[in-house]
């Protein structure tokens, strides 16, 4: 439908160019009562109607404004699967599978280091 919209806009542009040429030709021939040829008029009208129809189809759909209607269309399960609190920008990096990401203090084995956070599926113990 969008391609048809572009084609119809090209048709309108072509009709405008054709109209300019037709009128300038009539001026050159010295015709006093200048009128637009019927085919150019029809081309312009049909192009505009078609592009208007295509634009109505492609401009987007209206959405219901009632909040109750929006909420009633959501499944009940969507209220249970909401994102939990997410931790980010932590100074002590969260444990991961690669050892290179462990904090330096823990890697040196210092006792004053912060206790290691529970690993997620990492079976290797720090030594």
């Amino acid at each position: 439908m969008r391609a048809l919209l572009y084609v119809s806009l090209l048709v309108v542009a072509h009709s405008i160019f054709s109209a300019v040429q037709a009128i300038s030709e009539q001026k050159t021939l010295g015709i006093e009562n200048r009128s637009m040829p019927l085919d150019i008029s029809l081309e312009c009208i049909v192009g505009c109607l078609l592009s208007g129809f295509c634009y109505l189809k492609t401009c987007g759909d209206f959405e219901p404004i009632s909040i109750i209607e929006q909420l009633s269309s959501r499944p009940y399960e969507s209220y249970e699967h909401r994102p939990n609190f997410v931790l980010f920008n932590q100074k002590n990096a969260l444990p991961s599978n690669s050892e290179s990401k462990r904090p330096a203090a823990v890697a040196r084995g210092e006792k004053s280091a912060a206790p290691e956070a529970p690993s997620r599926g990492d079976k290797k113990k720090s030594t």
């Binding site: 109209a19 300019v20 109505l56 759909d61 209206f62 909040i67 929006q70």
Partner: protein, 105 residues
């Protein structure tokens, strides 16, 4: 006194109004081009604008499946919203096209 927009989503209202405004502007541009190319002048040009506006409103009515209350605050929004600003756009393109076709070249 209860808020008249109680129970309505402002985001959806704004979105629908934006679609309506864009359609009105597009139709005004097309209508102005047609009127200028056809060489219409005077009151006939303004009559054609209102014809274009009514045609657009009918198209939007079909698009909303004849239930305008579901998508807009008032049922008359489809018929009256953006008509004044659309008229200015229409006159702009009407005069521009008429000048290009009949006067400049």
């Amino acid at each position: 006194m209860q808020n008249p927009d109680f129970g309505l989503s402002k985001e959806k209202i704004d979105k629908n109004e934006k679609i309506l405004s864009n359609c009105r502007t597009f139709a005004s541009i097309l209508g102005g081009c047609v009127t200028g190319v056809l060489g219409l002048t005077g009151l006939l040009g303004f009559v054609l604008y209102f014809v274009c506006s009514i045609l657009l409103s009918l198209g939007l009515l079909v698009k909303s499946k004849f239930s305008t209350k579901r998508y807009f605050r008032t049922s008359s929004s489809i018929w009256t919203s953006g008509v004044g600003s659309g008229l200015m756009t229409y006159i702009l393109f009407w005069t521009l096209m008429y000048d290009i076709v009949y006067i400049f070249f």
